[in-house]
């Protein structure tokens, strides 16, 4: 294998790569701004420069030239090289800022230049705390500035489109944003305008940045020049915890980070998963954040009245036990695999039937990329459990002879599969996340349901990839499983909370519970206890017993998920 020597250490490499990415893969940090693995390499920020050379070869024989000590003679490039654009070559010798003062000085010089026209308004900048410029300036920059002039002024607070705001003074002109619209979405909505230190990204005159993926430029922007309109000035990044999980926006299974302060979701950003969403997510999937905070159903109810959870469990168990007609169950494409699986077990316990899940598939809704035709996140998980897309007419005909309808995390009335009148003769037990749920008025027993941001579980995306949900915010009564999972994979400062975190602020903790807590309570009362020490064990059992979930254990799924065996089209 070819070798490259970085700061005196040999490393083997695969042909075809560039030095910067190789170093980053080896854990050798080289400061950089314009480079992004999913975009072309313009090498324009000039931050990643290193000293590099190649072993000298005899022109005639092609043999390596050695010095008097038998060591290869290195011909260094006369100029420093941008590592992001430098091809790895066998025998190449590289000196980074770690062992070359010259390189360290070059990088510091570059940062000094970068900062002379940067407003340094970190105290009021949303990017502060997660800013590559701030971080790298502290690590690799000069200790001060020798610039004594007024900085260049550029437009500020420019609403580029519905979701993105530009502060051109902060821009360091890395062109990541323009390359994104040119190369990734090909909407070409952003371009750099003007020249030299006056330039900044802008839309064409009369145009706006309304690319459905526009907010990815905010994630790409290495400074606070591009910010998400909905999130501006909402919270400092260090006041929030950031939890790696999966979005419930559609069946793509977009990997995300949920940003939480005071048990409220304030921001959703994409998390890189090259097999799913790469580095991106659509704007629409971010703008759902309020759904997790607002209009939540709080506290168990029996016939509309608030009751203790125990009372609701007793009542639901009684209803199920006393049913004198058939008991119908609806699974849910919004609920996790674990919850749906427990629901099938509960149905077995009472001899009921799981009729299916309400499908949210709308032909043509998607964009062929990260917006799926399927609005719900886990239809594929249901299918793999043998729960099929519901036939509404079948449900209505069965309802005639039924006495109980048990609905997991859904709203059949709003979905249009049932009307209020249809429900008159049956007792409805409902898990519902929102107070606005239209089936709720018809429910005899209602269990407020934890949403994807509050639970532990698994979604299977439309491509058959099983991915883990982690709790990003606390609910009123945290149990042992949730406590243990809380903060796993979170950013370091948030582990266990920070002084700014009002994790214990009870006002924002929703009084709800995950299905995997509620269903076993009912099973207990029905005399068929489920002995799981938390949802992880539920998944262990499925991975063991159901070939459609082989391999999908929590450790295996970890942060990037597991591609499940193809089970073919549903029968």
């Amino acid at each position: 294998m070819p070798q490259v020597f970085i700061d005196g250490q040999p490393y083997e490499f695969e042909e075809g790569g560039k030095l910067l990415q190789f170093c980053l893969d080896q854990g050798i940090e080289i400061p950089h701004f314009c480079y992004h693995p999913a975009l072309s390499v313009p090498a324009n920020c000039r931050q990643c420069q290193v000293k590099a050379g190649l072993p000298a070869r005899d022109r005639a024989t092609g043999e390596l030239v050695t010095d008097e000590n038998g060591l290869p003679v290195i011909n260094y490039f006369p100029k420093p090289q941008t590592s992001c654009s430098l091809d790895l070559v066998d025998g190449m010798v590289v000196h980074t800022q770690y062992d070359s003062e010259e390189v360290a000085a070059i990088q510091a010089d570059n940062l000094e230049m970068m900062l002379i026209n940067h407003p340094l308004d970190c105290p009021i900048c949303d990017q502060a705390g997660q800013c590559p410029l701030q971080n790298q300036a502290y690590k690799y920059g000069p200790e001060g500035s020798r610039f004594e002039f007024e900085k260049v002024h550029k437009p500020k607070r420019v609403q580029l489109g519905p979701n993105v705001v530009l502060d051109a003074e902060r821009c360091i002109n890395c062109t990541r944003c323009t390359r994104f619209t040119a190369e990734v979405t090909e909407s070409h909505q952003l371009s750099i305008v003007n020249r030299g230190d006056k330039n900044y990204p802008m839309t064409a005159p009369g145009q706006i940045l309304d690319d459905p993926y526009s907010m990815n430029v905010c994630d790409l922007c290495p400074v606070g020049a591009l910010t998400e309109d909905y999130f501006r000035f909402k919270a400092r990044v260090w006041e929030m915890s950031k939890t790696p999980s999966v979005s419930d926006f559609g069946a793509k299974g977009i990997n995300v980070d949920y940003w939480v302060r005071d048990n409220q979701i304030l921001r959703i950003t994409p998390r890189a998963n090259l097999d799913v969403n790469e580095y991106w997510m659509p704007d629409a999937a971010r703008l759902v954040y309020e759904r997790y905070n607002e209009n939540r159903l709080q506290g168990a109810r029996v016939n509309g009245a608030a009751v203790a959870w125990e009372t609701a469990y007793d009542e639901a168990a009684r209803v199920l036990k006393d049913a004198d007609g058939s008991v119908l169950f609806l699974g849910s494409a919004w609920a996790t695999v674990e919850d749906n699986y427990l629901l099938t077990k509960l149905a077995d316990t009472v001899g009921g039937e799981v009729l299916g899940y309400i499908p949210y598939h709308e032909e043509g809704r998607g964009d062929g990329w990260l917006i799926s035709d399927d609005r719900a996140p886990n239809a594929q998980g249901c299918e793999r459990l043998g729960i099929r897309a519901l036939d509404a007419s079948l449900l209505q005909s069965k309802l005639a002879g039924a006495s109980v309808l048990y609905v997991l995390d859904d709203d059949p009335v709003a979905a249009g599969v049932l009307s209020g009148a249809d429900l008159e003769g049956v007792t409805v037990i409902l898990h519902a996340s929102h107070a606005t749920n239209e089936t709720l008025p018809h429910a005899a027993v209602a269990f407020p349901a934890a949403m994807c941001v509050e639970t532990i579980g698994t979604y299977v995306n439309e491509a058959g990839r099983a991915q883990r949900l982690r709790p990003a915010k606390m609910i009123r009564s945290m149990n042992r499983s949730l406590m243990m999972a809380m903060g796993t994979g979170q950013s370091r400062i948030d582990r266990g909370g920070t002084p700014f975190d009002r994790w214990h602020d009870v006002t924002n903790k929703v009084d709800c519970l995950p299905g995997w807590t509620v269903i076993p309570e009912l099973a207990d009362r029905l005399g068929r206890p489920m002995h799981y020490k938390g949802p992880e064990r539920v998944m262990d059992e499925l991975a063991e017993t159901n070939p459609a979930f082989t391999g999908a254990t929590y450790p295996a799924m970890d942060l990037l998920g597991v591609a499940l065996e193809d089970i073919g089209e549903p029968a």
Partner: protein, 461 residues
């Protein structure tokens, strides 16, 4: 260096230049008209090569190599060698020639003479170059501000098409090539070769990183060669009179006729055609000497980016790459600017710095921000508000810019500042306040050093 004899002999290397007969811009009336051009042997070279088989493509490339022709666009690279970098013809891949007529370097105004007075020489050169490299399309990129020349040259190209010198089946042979006149985007940076290609493709004129070089991936990612207008205009002359003739003009390593653009404080500024290797003093004489009988203090020999020479340095120097390198500057575009004793070198340097600040494309950090910083410091000094220590800072900023960017504009911006200060330091210091900081009164000169700004720190990691 001790044993290499100096090139700064003070003697001309241009031979009998006083009897030189112009070949690029010969004194022929209405030469821009195709009939007149034809009457004076125009398109004979093309006929000889394409039709009569005087050279095959490789033979023509070798002939150009043998002539010693070096690019007239600024970098002075061997033209024949550049042509030979083109990969073998791949029928799947179109190949392009770009003729660089962006001419924007201050002090450079020679290509426009060719556009105006002898466009067919350039057109003939283009078709020959296309033949040598088996290229079917040439983009002739003309500076955006040269609106009249765009039309003028287009007319000449149309005439050449009509006469069968360009287009399908050149002179009835099976060699075909097109010339597309492209109106430039009006920025200095569009003249940088890869930037020109982006501009041509309709993109923002950002220079590209190299590698890949244009011969590997140029316009639209296809093999491309780019040459200056004057460079290509030399090609028919080489074909007609032979490489040997061309190589016999001027010094051995930098041969041929050159259009010297002379400006500044001289009596007759203008474009003068002479051999390479002319003494700068002779060129001053040709341009009618210094205006008002003044003493010349400095010369910028090759366009605004080339380091200025003091008169002492310029006097023994001749206009060819090797000699000018030894003298401490470079040939650039052979656009000489003479500055007389009344010139304020600080103001002059400031004005140049303004140009590069204005024209930096803004891609690279050191160039985008460095050019502005240079200008701001020079402005302050020029206005009497600068400090002596600003000179040290300026030199350090030049270090921080040179050789660290995508294209050579940052170097072009740094050189005049660096060498202006190095060579005319007295003038700069005379305009500076002696104190290191405002209000700080320093007793003696040595204390000047103590008022340093925060040095660029090295990282603590």
């Amino acid at each position: 260096m001790a044993d290499t004899p100096t090139l700064l002999t003070g003697e001309t290397k241009a031979g009998d230049w006083r009897n030189y007969e112009r070949v690029i811009l010969p004194p022929i009336k209405d030469l821009h008209k195709i009939e007149v051009y034809e009457d004076h042997g125009g398109y004979d070279a093309l006929r000889a090569v394409v039709k009569d088989g005087k050279f095959d493509p490789k033979g023509l490339t070798d002939e150009v190599k043998a002539s010693g022709l070096r690019g007239r666009g600024g970098a002075g690279f061997s033209t024949g060698l550049k042509w030979s970098f083109m990969p073998p013809v791949d029928p799947e891949k179109p190949r392009y020639l770009c003729c660089n007529g962006d001419e924007s370097e201050p002090g450079t105004f020679k290509d426009r003479q060719i556009f105006e007075y002898n466009p067919h020489l350039m057109i003939e050169g283009i078709v020959l170059a296309c033949y040598a490299m088996t290229i079917k399309t040439c983009y002739l990129y003309i500076r955006g501000e040269y609106i009249d020349y765009v039309h003028h040259v287009q007319k000449a190209v149309d005439e050449a098409y009509a006469k069968g010198y360009v287009g399908k089946n050149v002179l009835g042979t099976d060699f075909s090539t097109d010339i597309v006149v492209h109106w430039g985007a009006g920025a200095y940076i569009c003249g940088e070769e890869t930037s020109l290609m982006n501009s041509l493709e309709g993109k923002r004129a950002y220079p590209r990183i190299k590698p890949p070089f244009p011969a590997q991936a140029g316009c639209w990612g296809m093999p491309t060669t780019i040459n200056n207008v004057e460079t290509l205009a030399d090609v028919p002359l080489i074909v007609n009179r032979g490489a040997e003739w061309f190589a016999s003009i001027g010094p051995e390593k930098h041969t041929g006729p050159v259009l010297y653009g002379i400006s500044g404080h001289v009596n007759r500024p203008g474009v003068y055609e002479y051999p390479t290797g002319m003494l700068i003093t002779d060129l001053l004489e040709i341009a009618g000497g210094a205006r008002g009988g003044k003493r010349i203090k400095a010369v910028v020999p090759g366009g605004s980016s080339t380091p200025p020479l003091t008169w002492d340095m310029a006097e023994p120097a001749t206009m060819d790459a090797e000699t000018l390198r030894e003298a401490g500057s470079s040939m650039g575009t052979a656009g000489l600017c003479f500055l007389d004793e009344d010139t304020d070198m600080v103001s002059f340097t400031r004005r140049i710095a303004h140009f590069y600040h204005h024209e930096s494309c803004g891609q690279c950090t050191p160039c985008r921000d460095g050019t502005g910083w240079l200008e701001k410091l020079l402005t302050r000094i020029d206005e009497g508000e600068g400090y002596t220590r600003d000179l040290g800072l300026l030199l350090e900023l030049c270090d921080q810019m040179e050789g660290r960017t995508v294209c050579a504009l940052a170097d072009a911006a740094a050189w005049p500042v660096r060498w202006g200060i190095r060579r005319f330091r007295d003038e700069f210091e005379a305009k500076c306040k002696a104190a290191a900081f405002a209000g700080a009164s320093l007793g003696d000169g040595s204390a000047l050093e103590t008022g340093e700004l925060t040095p660029t720190g090295t990282p603590t990691t």
